[in-house]
């Protein structure tokens, strides 16, 4: 199972596509869209009329299987509700491929947050996202496209992106990206979980979550910590939990550890966080680090 945001597999495939004009965009998108259609994906393309016309010409009858909503119908990465809306694209029995285009007016910092959120906490979703950006976008926004996409869609197919930088969620970290570290809690074992829950509830309330939303966020982080504790010695887990908040937007927690424990093998297609997902906007298990991340939205 591919858990990262890179190649095609069970997990997220997050592609950038840099273009100069509609022909260029279509040439880069066609190989990925054909692959998606051949694989039985739901395909959604939110693009201008000229691009849609060229795609219809390029794909022929297969284009009938593509949904073409107006571009405004797709939430932009910079929008506060972006991370929440991504989940709506997910189908239980098949992949979904979505092509969207960067508007020039997006604030780069917010955009980078949305894109990094995808990479960090939606790595398990069966999605292919093609984020298209004109090469004449403002330089700082273009920089986001180059840095936030692990792979690129090109006329010769899906290729690695040498400029990609994985989101740094642990210290040292671009704190503004995930919000300031509100709490950093050490968890030695299950006996420390009550203190962790108290911290998360406190930060969640300060971030603007209320009622059952706080309870859900607390439960999701608690379960992420239980998963991490059980991977090591339950009495000496040595976990570090960072709780970050962007008031009014998100609550983000990363459970790092246990250290020095080999990554679990043989998980196959098992979703280790299936029980957590109903209670948060996104959760991502990264056994290689190891770390478990949970994102809740206000």
């Amino acid at each position: 199972m591919t858990r990262g945001p890179g190649g095609r597999g069970e997990g997220l495939r997050h592609l950038g596509l840099l273009f100069d004009g509609p022909d260029d965009l279509v040439a880069g998108a066609l190989p990925v869209l054909r692959e998606a259609l051949d694989g039985g994906d739901d395909v959604v393309v939110a693009a201008d009329r000229a691009t849609v016309r060229r795609l219809r010409e390029g794909l022929g009858a297969d284009a009938e299987r593509i949904a073409f909503p107006v571009p405004a119908a797709v939430v932009r990465p910079a929008a506060p509700e972006f991370v929440h809306s991504v989940r709506d694209w997910v189908r239980p029995d098949r992949r979904t491929t979505v092509l969207g285009r960067y508007p020039a007016t997006m604030p780069p910092r917010e955009c980078r947050f949305g894109e990094d959120a995808l990479n960090a906490v939606f790595g398990d979703l069966p999605l292919t996202l093609i984020c298209c950006a004109r090469r004449d976008l403002p330089p700082d926004l273009l920089e986001v496209v180059r840095r936030a996409h692990p792979r690129l869609a090109t006329p010769v197919g899906d290729t690695g992106n040498p400029d990609y930088r994985a989101p740094a969620t642990s210290s040292p970290t671009p704190a503004a990206l995930w919000g300031e570290v509100a709490e950093r809690v050490g968890v030695g074992g299950t006996a420390d979980l009550a203190e962790l829950r108290r911290c998360v509830a406190d930060v969640a309330a300060r971030a603007g979550l209320e009622g059952d939303a706080v309870r859900a966020a607390v439960l999701a982080v608690h379960e992420a910590a239980v998963l991490a504790v059980r991977r090591g010695d339950p009495a000496h887990a040595d976990l570090t939990v960072e709780v970050r908040a962007r008031p009014g937007h998100t609550l983000f927690c990363e459970v790092a550890g246990p250290r020095g424990v080999p990554a679990p093998e043989g998980l196959g297609a098992a979703d280790t966080l299936a029980h957590v997902r109903p209670f948060c906007a996104g959760a991502h298990d990264d056994p290689a680090l190891p770390a478990v991340r949970v994102l809740s939205t206000v």
């Binding site: 979980l193 439960l219 239980v226």
Partner: protein, 292 residues
């Protein structure tokens, strides 16, 4: 950290009670027992304490009379308000049989009441019974705990059974909590039985999931023997937090129950109901009509 025992008013303390105090470690258990003994001494109860004395030490060198013990314990030992018996002597006198244990306790209660003490408080440290190696001991233990229950029902006796998880094997922990499901105090959670409802409260999480599972098992088992059974009516209005492990335990207990036994949920919050649905609520779990 919350108190190991819920604070109780000096006046209006229940005349009788049979409580299990669970502690993860020895020092944690001692803090809880010390608080309880101190309270009983201040209430004017006759206190019987049964504990382990380290090899080579006398009864009056037990921790209960030292700096970690309750205030006034040493004086109470001198005046006779507090009586100490070491557990090897208890085993010797009772033969470690249910009949022997109950006779020993009943004699002490009778003697205290005969001396005109208004109430009797009895507590014993974790007994370290080898239940895993001697399955017949499980049944014997259940019989004497049932006898304790009867004693506290008939007479003004408050009994505190101490369980130190670090000192007992898994079988002993499981059976002890199951038998005491009606009145358990275990760190951040506790459970009580009242008016036909079994009411766990506090924080139920992975740390205590196994003990909570034992209590659920005990409550289900007891409900089958009750006149108003076999359904278990569960009052969840006092639950502050429940995680997936504990929710799973409840749902699994319902699934594995006999066909005619159901779990009836009272006072479950909307979020708890959502949690039960997420882990898979079987048809044998009903929601009562008094849901908030």
């Amino acid at each position: 950290m919350t108190s190991l025992l819920p604070a109780r008013p000096a006046f209006g303390a229940p005349q009788s009670r049979h409580t299990l105090l669970v502690a993860d470690a020895v020092d944690q258990g001692r803090r809880g027992a010390s608080t309880w003994v101190e309270q009983e001494l201040s209430l004017g109860s006759k206190v019987f304490y049964k504990g382990w004395v380290p090899a080579g030490q006398r009864a009056d060198q037990h921790w209960i009379t030292g700096p970690a013990g309750p205030r006034g314990a040493r004086d109470a030992l001198v005046t006779g308000q507090l009586e100490f018996l070491d557990l090897p002597t208890v085993v010797e006198r009772s033969g470690a049989t249910a009949g022997g244990v109950l006779e020993l306790y009943a004699d002490e209660v009778e003697r205290a009441l005969g001396d005109l003490w208004p109430t009797v408080a009895m507590t014993q440290e974790s007994p370290e019974l080898p239940m895993a190696d001697h399955p017949d001991l499980v049944a014997e233990y259940a019989r004497w705990e049932a006898g304790f229950e009867d004693l506290t029902r008939r007479l003004p006796v408050r009994m505190l059974c101490q369980l130190c998880v670090a000192a007992e094997n898994e079988t002993a922990v499981w059976e002890t909590v199951a038998v005491h499901h009606g009145d358990v105090v275990d760190g951040f959670w506790s459970a009580a039985r009242d008016d036909g409802h079994w009411a766990p409260s506090g924080d139920l999480d992975a740390h205590v999931a196994r003990r909570f599972g034992a209590a659920v098992h005990g409550a289900m088992r007891a409900a089958r023997d009750r006149a108003d059974g076999p359904d278990l009516h569960l009052d969840l209005s006092g639950v502050d937090f429940m995680d997936v492990a504990c929710a799973d335990i409840l749902m699994l207990a319902a699934r594995s129950a006999p066909l005619d036994q159901h779990l009836v949920l009272h006072g479950a919050s909307r979020f708890l109901r959502r949690l039960f649905d997420a882990v898979g609520r079987p048809a044998s779990v009903y929601q009562s009509e008094d849901a908030p």
